[in-house]
Each structure stands twice: as C-alpha cells, then as structure tokens.
Symmetry: D2
Subunit: 313 residues, 4 copies
C-alpha cells in the first residue's frame, strides 16, 4: 500500500474540507483530489491542485471578459481547431499540480521535461525510506534484439527468479549499509554512540536508482499533453508509462473536450513525411509502389505500411 495510515489520515482531512470559490471548478476532478492513485508496487500520483478547465482555454483564446463557454458545441469546435492548428498557447492557461512517488530512474527520465516546476524530497536533509521498485514478473523482459532501446520476450523460470532475487538482495543490502553508515535505525535511534554517522548527503550515494523518491510537480496543460504524448507512447519505458497512464485518467476528468481532441489529433494521429505522403497519394491513385522506389528506408516503409493498414504488403 503506498500510503501509511498517518498519511492516509492527512489525505482524508484535506478531502473533508470544502471552501467556497468564485474560480472555475471541475467536480469530476475534485472527486479524486488528494487521493493516491497507485502506480507500480509502491508509487502513486496524487492530484493536489488545478487551475482552469476546458472553458478557460476558450476564455484565453478569445481574451474574453466572461467565462469561455458560450455553448459546449462551440467551445468544442474551437478547442479542436486550436489543437489541430498547433495554437498551443491557450492550453498553457490551465495548470495542474501533482504529488508523485516514483523510482529514481523514472524521476531521471521525467525531469527531462523542463517546462515544469519541481520540489523533490531531499536526501541531503532527510533520511530516505526503505522502499524500492521490484518489477512484477509480467514486466521482467529480456533485451530486445531488433531494437537496442527496448524490451523483448519475458524472462522465465529460473532466470526470472534469479533476477528478482538479485534485485531484492542488493536493494536490501544497500539500504542496510546506508543505515549502518548513517549510524541510525529505522526509528531514528543512534546505533553506536561511539560513532559519528556519515552525512546524509554522502550515505545516500549507496542507494540504487530503483529506490523511491517523491516530488511535487506542476505544469500547464499544453506541457502536460506533450509529456503524455511522449511518455504514454509504446516507445516509452514501461515504468514511466505506468505513471503517464494514471495521468491520462486525471486529464480526462479535468478537461474532457481537450482530452478528446488530444486523442484525435495527437495520440491517435500520425505524422507522415514528405515521401510518405507522396507514396500514399500514388497508392490512392492506383499505382503499384514498392519500397525500392518509394524514397523511404525499409524501416520507414514498414512503419508507413503499418499505419496505412497494409500489413505485409
């Protein structure tokens, strides 16, 4: 379970309080506010705060004095037009803030998105928790042979068992030695009064990158969608994709019209190259086209045929 009973109680206290506001409010998102949406074995995403809604996108695009909404159909049309034509600035007018608990190696991928605000739990200042990520057996994949950056078939039997064993053993050993160097027990008591204890900022260097860290993370809707389009993609590493998928659900509650447009124009669409477009035109004109005379590399040809539903053609 990702939260301790004390943490869960704090969350419940927050959820019990309600204030009156004149601001744009989204009941479907308020429903899950502050709750820990579980991700991986010990991680979570919690929606802490948000600013704006679908109508706020419209309001900003129109630089209007009132709320964006005239009629929902009209707002929907404008939102779809904006997203289709890459008029991205109105989507920056909505903002969302998350509390995330995630393995360090996921955090290192995530932080590459620079247009965001971050406050991370400090291992210089505080003691790291004894929590680390161990993949579920169904995610224990071998190195892909066709794609140097990716996963292939699952490990099985003895090999899988040994990998899990090694990961657990090394994490446990690293943490035990972390405590020993700190000279403090789990409950914060001094182990050996004759020792000084290594500085926290040094001792933490012994912990592997599958240990969990936490941060507050805040970004605008445009950059959230950009994050999701890269990290909910099948090419993303499974572990960060698991976070992106939890965030997709939150986005759908928050801005349903924008989310629908995102699915139609970004996530569900595809970019064709100049040559790919030309091949498509020739095919539609009834021409027989082969990879060799397509201007596409074999790999691009395969990808295009996949997109166009021409499988092995």
């Amino acid at each position: 379970m990702p939260l301790t009973p004390e943490q869960q109680a704090e969350v419940e206290r927050l959820r019990d309080e309600t204030q009156a506001t004149r601001r744009a409010t989204v009941p479907a998102l308020e429903e899950i506010l502050y709750q820990a949406l579980p991700v991986l074995d010990h991680g979570f995403v919690r929606i802490i705060d948000y600013m704006g809604d679908d109508a706020a996108v419209v309001q900003a695009a129109r630089v209007s004095y009132g709320r964006g909404t005239k009629r929902v159909q009209e707002d929907r049309g404008l939102i779809r037009y904006l997203l289709r034509h890459r008029h991205t600035t109105p989507f920056e007018m909505c903002e969302i803030k998350l509390h995330v608990k995630l393995p360090i190696f996921v955090a290192r991928q995530w932080i590459r998105h620079r247009t965001a605000n971050v406050n991370e739990y400090s291992g210089r200042y505080s003691i790291m928790d004894r929590e680390f990520y161990i993949p579920a057996p169904e995610h224990l994949a071998a190195q892909s042979r066709s794609n140097r950056q990716g996963r292939g078939n699952l490990l099985e039997g003895e090999e899988a068992a040994e990998v899990l064993e090694l990961l657990k053993r090394d994490a446990a050993q690293s943490y035990a030695d972390y405590q020993s160097m700190l000279n403090e027990t789990d409950s914060g008591e001094i182990i050996d009064p004759g020792r000084k204890g290594l500085a926290r900022e040094l001792a933490r260097m012994n912990l592997p990158v599958n240990f969990y860290t936490q941060w507050y993370w805040k970004t605008d809707l445009h950059n959230l969608l950009h994050f999701l389009s890269l990290r909910a993609d099948p090419h993303a590493q499974y572990e960060i994709r698991a976070y992106a998928e939890a965030m997709l659900e939150a986005a759908k509650r928050w801005v349903p019209l924008t989310f629908e447009a995102y699915e139609d124009y970004i996530a569900g669409g595809a970019q064709l190259s100049r040559q790919g477009l030309e091949v498509t035109r020739r095919l539609l004109a009834g021409e027989q086209v082969e990879q060799e005379d397509s201007g596409l590399s074999p790999r691009e040809w395969r990808e295009l045929m996949g997109l166009l539903g021409r499988g092995q053609s």
Copy 2:
C-alpha cells in the same frame, strides 16, 4: 472607465457564481476576483484565477501529504528562510492568471519576461479598439540629463500643452486612417461598397504603440516576484510601474507571508558588492574611507553612501 457596461455585466455574472472546492482558497483574493483594477487612463489588471497560497509553498518545500500549515509562525519562519536563501522552487508551486489591458509599448517591455504564458488579442483577426494612452500632466517628464534612460523635470505650460495636443491628434488621425483603410466604421459597417478594405493584419501597422492591447497572462509566484522586483522599481518606466503597483496589492492579498518576506529580503534590501562590503566594514571599524581609496567608482560610491544613510559624506 476601462470597462463597457456589457463587459461589467459579464464580470458581475462571474462574481455572482460560487462553487464548492477542496482546493486551497484565499478569501482576501476572492474578494477582488474578476474585478478590473484600473491602471493609467484606460487600462486595468483583472485577477482571473490563482492556484495555491502561502501554505502551498510550505507544503511543497516539505513534500508533505497534508496542507503546509502547521502553525502560522512556523510557516512564516520557513517562508522567510526559503526566500532569504534563494530556495526559489517552492514559490513556483503557486500560480496566478491575469487579464490585462495595457498600451503596446508597455506590453513590449512586459513580454520580455519569458517564464510566463500569454494570449494576446489579435490584430490579425479582430479590429483594434479606438483607445490610446495619453499621459496625465503630472507624468509628462523631460528627458533626464544625468541618466540617459530616464525622466527629468516635468514639462510645463505651452510645451506640455503642445505635446498632449500632438499625441492626441496623431493617435486620432492614425485610427481614422486605420478605419478608412479597413473600409469599416466603428460599428463594423462597410464604408464604401466599391472598395475591398485592406487586410486587418496590414491596416493595424498604422497604429502607434500608445494604443491599448489586451492579454491573458499567467505566471508562478517566484516569477511574479521577480517581475515585481524589476518593474515596481523606481528605475522602471512609470507606465509599467503603474501595473506592477496594482499587482503588488493583489500579491499582498494572495500570499501575505510571502509578500512580507519579499519586502524584507528583496524589495527593501540591497546587494552590496565585494568592495562595498569591504568599505562598510572599514567604516564600522572606525576607519576614515574616501571614494578614491574605496575601490568603488564615483557612482558606486554615491549609491553606497545613499544606502548607508551617509548622504553627502
């Protein structure tokens, strides 16, 4: 008056609606939400939305599961510590969104702050309003003689009258010709059916930079304070300072503890140089120091003596 009756009615409609929310809420800021705070002769700042409060700064700094607040004194201490030691990231966890009406030349200074989101009224798409800024007589200053980038004494009498006359006449003429080129009246009617009317994106090039534009502008608390520290400063041009001053009032309502710390550590403080610090130490040690042996330029010396309350010394 900056708002038309129709616009004012839209504002009132927004102010009349109240929703329940679980989010952090600031009653003192809600009081003025959506209202036009007047600036210059036709401009305004309207607070449209906000995210977070003083406690949200603390919450993020502690990466906590509950609200930031423990006790107000403790929160105040942490906020002051963070600001004093340039731990700026927790202040990025609060966000504010404004609707601003401002002269183009002010907008051109304002937009230099890049860590912000902007949606501006489009002169390509819409017809610009007939509204332009004319300085009040008490702001009609001559070029400073001592400072190439600044204002000196006020213009008076005939010279002042003529300047105001020229500014008004040219703005009126430019706008009349703008309409004439568009071939449209104020109320959007075609003037001469035999003409095509110049494209809006071209006709607007005839308007001087004292015409008003509008935008939605959104930034985080850290960047808001940075904006204010530069633009509410006496070295800023008066016209943008007028906007910064309206925003200071809003910031004070929004995050009173952060605002107090900002006044103590940023706005009301001063940066001493290495040499300035050395001079201060020598003076405190009872030494007689002159500019010539201070390591400071005459101008830096004057500035330092001013800071230290030593006037003409």
Copy 3:
C-alpha cells in the same frame, strides 16, 4: 539600402578578420557571416555567430569523445532518425545568433518564441530611426472573406494608391511630431533652446508599429526549426514569413543534413488525425468514403482530400 556606408564599413572590417580555431566550423556559413541579407524594404537578417554543425548533433546524441562524424552516410541516417522520432535534444546542441532589423509589428509576433535570447535597441535610451515599412504593391492584400485571419485578393488602382498614401503620410507625420516633442533634429541638435524636450521613453509612444526596430536574437537549432516551421508556413503573416525565408537559406548553409531532414519530416510532411488516418485506410482498401460518414468536419475533409491529392473528390 538597409545599411549606411558606415555600418557597411564595420561589417567589412569584421569580415576581413580571420582567426584560427579548434572549434567545429562551417565554411558555407562563414561565407555570409556578418552580411546583411535584405528583407522587406529596410530590414535585414545578419548571421553574427554560430556554434556547432551537423556533426555536433551526432556527437551529442552519441555523447562521444571525438567529433560526431564517422561517415557522412551514417551521420545522415542518425540525424534523420532523431528528427523523425522527435528526439529533439541533440539539435539543441547547435546555436545561432542573428542581428535583425524588423518592423515592430513583426517583432511582436517573433518575440512570442520564448526559448531564445534577445537584446533589443532601446527607445528609452536612444532615438528611433526614421525608417518604416511600406508594403510593396504586390503585398497589399484585402481582408480574406473565407479566413478571418488572413489576406484575400490584392487591392488595386485608387484604393491601393490611397492606402499607400495614408501609410506614408501618417508615418511621416508621427515621426515629425516625435522629433518635435523630443525637441531634437535628425542630427541631434536642439530645436528650441527654450524647451526641455519630452523624455525619449514617452515620445516614442507616438510611433506606429510599422517603424523598424533592431535586435540581437539567439536560439538553438531545435527552436530555430520550430520557429521556421511556424513562420515560414503559408498561414504566417507575409512580413514575418519574409524573415523566415531568409533564415531558411542560412539554415541550409549551416546544417545541410539536418535541413534536408527538416524538409522531409516537418515542413514537407503532414499530421493526420485519428479520423483522417482511418479515412485513408478505408480509401486504400477500396471503400467509397464521403465526408458525412468520415468523422471529419467539412473543413477537415477538404484539408485531407487536398493532402491526399484528391482535389474536389
């Protein structure tokens, strides 16, 4: 002519000096370094400096100890792979710096690209030149009827002549009054010693947005390509497109492999929506599809048919 003889002499002096460097160097770009590439009636783009080349993209992508280049074919393949798959960070490792002279209304569109560095000529500090943009007759377009943000047919005959006349007259009048308020002639002499002269930061508010300003502007290759994809696009206003086109030529000299990939995968390609992709698949499968059962709006249908070379179908 965009440069005065004195300015031209300064440029020539710079071009005559050559230093030895160990850095990556691009002879084709060095050829035009510092020269004013003319744009519009008085504007220009000057390439002032650059960092990196195609090989530097490869070098960063591989985090290598030596130069990127192994063999040109291999570098080309990697660059195309990176651009196709949106691995944009290696393109940020090249940087370019420009000196640009441009009308204020173009500068206002340009500055919306925030990931760039800018130093603009200051109208607070210096006197603005008497230079303004007047469109050539072949760019004097009427407002489009089908597209609220765009141009339609050209103005002709008397209407065109009158528009040009108004633009010139108002610009001349505004500038004459600017000087009069400053109480300074072109050559910087005081006009009337009995007057103080209005502060520069105030007087400049009388100038229309077709007056020229100047700035130094610097960005990385990824953001340059993003700028070009939006501003060299037919939907961009002609005047900023004219600058983008001059910059395309410079980009082609600078990073020919990246530029080729940009043309194939970004500028010359197209994004299909989920529905657009589905329609394409159905058409390729021989199905008869009409707009009504396509899931596309009439406008999106028209755009898709255009892309697929099916004109009026």
Copy 4:
C-alpha cells in the same frame, strides 16, 4: 585516470585540427578545448565549444553593427554596469558547451538548472561503465549537528575505514549483479547462452547513484554564472562544488571582464535585508544595537555580524 587511451587519442585528434573562422575567438579558452579537466576520482569537465566573448556582451547590449570592443576600459565599465544593475540579457548572448562525467547523484542536483540543453548517456540503450565515486578520506564527513543539510567533522579511524569498505563492496556487488542480469561480460560476451539477459533499461536499476554517468551540457553565460553562484557556494554539496570550481577556471579564461564583475558583484558581495540595512545604518551612526531590538532573528543577526566583520559582537 578519467580517459582511456582511445578516448585520449580522440581528444588529441580534435586538438590537432585548426580551422579559419571569422567568429569571435578566445585563445585562452582554445588552449584547453576538448581536454578533460579532472574532477573527483573519475569525473571530468571538457569544454567542447563556445560562442562569443566579453566583447559579444557589449556588442549585444549596444545592438551594434561591428564588434563590441571600442576600448577595453569602456567595455569593462559597461560590463560591470550591466551586471551590477541586473541587465542580464546581454550575458545570454554567449554560450558554452561541456562534456561532463559525473556521479548520478551530482547529475540529479545539476539537472535542476532548467535553462540548459542536455544529452545524457543512455542506460536504456548502452551498458553502463563500471565506474563509481568513492569519497577521498578528507571528504568523508559526519552529519552536521547545527545544520540539517550539511557536513560536520570528518569521520576517522575505524568508522571511516568501514564506510569506505561498505561503499566499495556494495558498488562492486551491484555492478557484478548488473552484469549477471544482463548476461554479458565486460567485453560484451554472452555469459550463459541458455539465458536471455534482462533488458538494459531494467538491469540498470540495480546501480547505486554513485555510479558515473556522462552528458553534453550547454548553457548561456548568464545561466552559467547563476549555476556557479549557487553551486560554487559553500552551502552546495562538496561533490557538485568540485565541478563548479573547474568551471570557474574555464569561465575566467573565457570572459575575464565578466568574470571579474561576477566576483565583485555576485560571488563576493552580499544581499542585505531591509532590517539588516537598517541595523548597519544605526551602527554607522554610532548607535549601540543588540539582536533583540534589531528586527533580525538570532540566526540572521549572526550572519549579518559575520558579514560586517563584527565576529562575536
């Protein structure tokens, strides 16, 4: 030694090649271009490329047609003025690119500086090297008692020996198990043909954060100075400070006038608060001031007295 002979040979090849350029060039920085400046036990900083020099700051501030330099004294004065008055944009006109090898925990602090470009070695795609950071005995500090985020006295004797032993043992074990899970030896040979080998992106999660990674990192001069002001500060963790110190040396070679101003106005100066300034004025006026009636907290009082050279007063 941080570089292998093959890597060293690549560096030498780069250093041996010289091209002619019309760009601003800095011989003192060219001298050390591409060389590995050693940091910590296995890390380094290599200067890969740069754009601009002190004169380029001046050139941009003046938006000039020629080189910035008129006379060195004049340039020096302007650079000092710009830095003193927080006119930071001209410093953004210079750019520098580094290749850095650094422990992951240092990389995690470094990456928080968002206005920079980064390409990191990929543990998804490539096998991580067997290189990890072990502190030198003179940096093996205990947790500070007075400051929760810092170091106190050095560990000694048996405790120090055991800490070093644990760090080495756990790093070696983690790497051995990393290889075992990958099913590959150091030289890339399959260990057990009957096994599949865990995907690289998963196996690397076993490595502690003292393992070395590498990246290309590029930023502008303003942001470099900001980085240095925070990371070369005594409050920064020693390990990142070691990198900042190597970068200070490079900055001094690159832009000596800017660097001198940085030392005088930023690194060597101090920010006084409103209350601190008031206390200083009262002391200079001969008044006796105590902490209790100073408006300062005990801690702020101590810091101010330290700054003013009043030690224990």
